[in-house]
Symmetry: C3
C-alpha cells in the first residue's frame, strides 16, 4: 500500500507549489525532484494564484516569514481550496513570535488544510491558540502527543502529523504511531520541511486517502534517515547524512519502502 | 578555444552580480567560485546600481520573483548596458504566471540582453509573448527547438541557449548543437541556474565572442554532469551528483574540457 | 580553555537568531546544529523583537540586504542590547554599495556590538566610514590588518575578528594571530558567514570572555577547513570540502580542538 503511494508519485510526477523559507528551500526542491515530483517555489502575492492553479499540491511553511509571504499563502490557499488541491501546512516555530501565531491563525481559519506537519511544541502552540484551551502536558510524552494531535485534528478537520522520537499520524479518529527515523536527523536543518514538501507530493496524487498518504511520507523520510545514518563512513557526520537522505530518496524502491516501514495502528 | 575561455575565467576572476532565486543561490555562488570567478548576490533596488557597476557580468534569474527584485533587475540591467557589462537572462518558469511574463517582457524590452538561457517551454513562452506570433510546435522536437531558438535570437538580437536533451546555441544565424549532459542532471534543482550563473562569468571575460563563450559554458556544465554521473558509487544518487558537479568544476582542466566537449556546427 | 568553550556550547545548546543572507543561510543553520547549538533564521521586522528575545545570541549579516532586513536588524539589535544578548556583526561586502555602508553605520552607531567578523577590505571600509579617517595601507599586509583591526575595535568598543591568510583577533588591546585555515576554504561560499553564525553560539554561552570565545571559534573553523582539505579523496573538490567542514564540526572533540589550534598572543 505504502509502496504503491510512492509509485503513484513517480508515475504522475506532481508539480508541488511550495511557499517556504529560504533556509531549506534548496533541500525541499531537491527532495521533491528525488522522489519523482516537480517543485515550484514562488512566494509573491502577484503570482500566487497562477502558480498554485497549475499544481497538484500546495505546501505552506512559516519559516523566514514576511508580510508578503503571508499574503501569498492566503491567496494560494484559497486558490487551492477552490480547485480541490490539497494543502500541507508546516507551522515552523509558530510559538516563537506573535507574528507567526497570528499568521497561523489566519491560515487555519480561512483555508481548509489537508495535513498539518509539526513537532510537539508547534502542535501544542496551535492547539492553545486555536481554541484558547489547553493542550495536554503529561509525564508520558507520547500520551500527551497523541492527545494533542487528535484534538488539533478534530478541531481543524484535518490530518495531523506530529513528528518526534515517535511520530503520531491522526485524523482525529484513527491514530498511527511511526517508529522510523534516526536521532541524527535533528542535526540536519529542514528535515521537517523536506517531509512537509514531500508530503505535498504524496497527498497530491493519493487524494482518496490523505491519512495513509501522510503516513507513507512519514515512514519513508524516517526510513531514509535510518538508512543514511547506517551508511555513514568514518569521518562523516550531519552534512553527509543530509546528502545521504536525498540520495536515498532518489534510489528508494517500493519494495524497500514496504519492507522498512515501522508503523502500528494505535487506535 | 573552449579551454582557453575557461582559462580566461580563472586568470581574470570576474566578479558576477546575480539577481537570482533563493532556491539555488548557494549552488550558483559555489559554482562561480569553483570555476574561478567571484559571485555577488544582491537583489535590492537600493544597491542594484552600485553592485552591478563593479562587476564584469550580470545574471538575471526570474525564480522566486518579487516586485522588489524586478525593480532591481531593471536598474541593474540599465547600469550594465550603460557600462557595457554583458547580461545573461534566465526566464525561469516564465510561462507559469502572468507576473513572470510581464517581468520578462519589461526586461527584454528595456535591457539589451547578451544571452538568454532557457528550456524549450520557456523559449516558446518568450517567443509567443514577445511577438504575439506563434512558436513552432513540431513532431520533431529538436527541429522545433532550433527554429524557436533562432527566432527568439533574431527578434531580441541576442544569443539564445536552449537547454534540453540536445542543447541549442544560436545567435539567430549560426546554430550549434551540444550533446553533452546526463539525464540525471534534471534531478538536481538549479542545474540550469548554475549554467546561467557560470555563463555570466564566461561572457564577462570573453566578450569578443559571446556565441562561443556561451557554447563553452554549455559544453562544460554538460560534461561535468556526465563525469559526475560516471563517478557515482553504489548508494549515491542525485544529491551526490550535485556535489560532484561542483567538485568537477573546481578540478576541471582546460585539456579535459577540450577533450570532453561534444558539439557540432549545425548551420 | 578552547575545548571547554566548545563543551559549553554543546552542554547549553544556545538558540541563535540569525538575520542573514539567503545564499549561505542553509550552511549557517547546519553549522549551528553541527556544533550543538540551535539556529533560528528570521528577518522580518514584525517578529524581530520576539525572536531575539528568546535567544542567547544574535548574528547580523549584511548579505542579500533589503530595507525590511535593516529594520529587523535594528529592532533585534536593540532587543539584544536591552537583554544583554551578545551581538555578532558580519558586514558582508560593506564596501560594495552605499546602501550597505549606510546600513552598517546605522547598526554600529545604534547597537552595541560584541564582535565584528570581517575580512581585510570590510574592516578597512568600516574604519574609513566610522571615523572619516583613514585605515592603514601597508606593504606589510599583516601589519596593516593588525593596525586596522585594533583601531576599529577601539573605536567601536568591541572585539574585531579579521579573517584572512592569518586571522587577527583583537579587543583593541590584546591581539591574537591565528594560523589555522586552508586556502581552499575561499572556494566555499559563506565560509565566513558560517564562522560568524558559530561565533554567535560561542559568545552566547561564554560571555565572561568575548575575546577568547571569538578566538576559539576562529581557530575551530580554520582547523575544520584544514582537516576537511586533508581528507579529500581523488576527484573531490570545493563542494566536498563544504560537506567535510560541517561533518567535521559535528564530530569534533574538545581534545582535537585543543590540539589543533594554532594561535599566538601577538600583543
Amino acid at each position: 500500500m505504502i509502496g504503491k503511494m510512492l509509485e503513484n508519485v513517480r508515475n504522475k510526477r506532481p508539480l508541488v507549489h511550495c511557499i517556504t523559507n529560504y533556509v531549506s528551500a534548496n533541500d525541499c526542491a531537491n527532495a521533491l525532484l528525488a522522489v519523482g515530483a516537480s517543485p515550484i517555489m514562488a512566494d509573491d502575492k502577484n503570482e500566487a494564484e497562477d502558480i498554485t492553479g497549475i499544481c497538484s499540491g500546495l505546501v505552506l511553511n512559516l519559516g523566514t516569514l514576511s508580510e508578503n509571504k503571508i499574503e501569498a499563502m492566503l491567496i494560494s490557499g484559497k486558490t487551492a481550496n477552490a480547485k480541490d488541491i490539497p494543502v500541507v501546512f508546516d507551522p515552523v516555530g509558530v510559538g516563537s513570535s506573535k507574528f507567526r501565531m497570528a499568521a497561523a491563525k489566519k491560515i487555519v481559519s480561512s483555508i481548509k488544510i489537508a495535513v498539518i506537519r509539526a513537532n510537539s511544541a508547534e502542535v501544542k502552540s496551535l492547539l492553545y491558540s486555536a481554541a484558547s484551551n489547553s493542550g495536554v502536558d503529561s509525564d508520558d510524552e507520547i500520551e500527551a502527543d497523541i492527545s494533542n494531535a487528535k484534538s488539533l485534528a478534530k478541531k481543524l478537520g484535518c490530518v495531523v502529523v506530529l513528528t518526534g522520537k515517535t511520530d503520531v499520524v491522526t485524523d482525529g479518529q484513527s491514530v498511527y504511531l511511526v517508529r522510523n527515523g534516526h536521532p541524527m536527523m535533528k542535526y540536519v536543518t529542514g528535515a521537517g520541511c523536506q517531509l512537509s514538501a514531500v508530503m505535498g507530493a504524496f497527498i497530491g496524487v493519493n487524494r482518496s486517502d490523505v491519512l495513509l498518504s501522510a503516513l507513507s511520507a512519514v515512514c519513508m523520510m524516517g526510513l531514509l534517515g535510518e538508512t543514511a545514518a547506517k551508511r555513514l563512513k568514518e569521518g562523516e557526520g550531519s552534512a553527509s547524512l543530509r546528502t545521504g537522505i536525498i540520495d536515498g530518496l532518489f534510489l528508494l524502491t517500493q519494495e524497500e519502502l514496504e519492507k522498512g516501514c515501522k508503523y502500528e495502528k494505535y487506535i
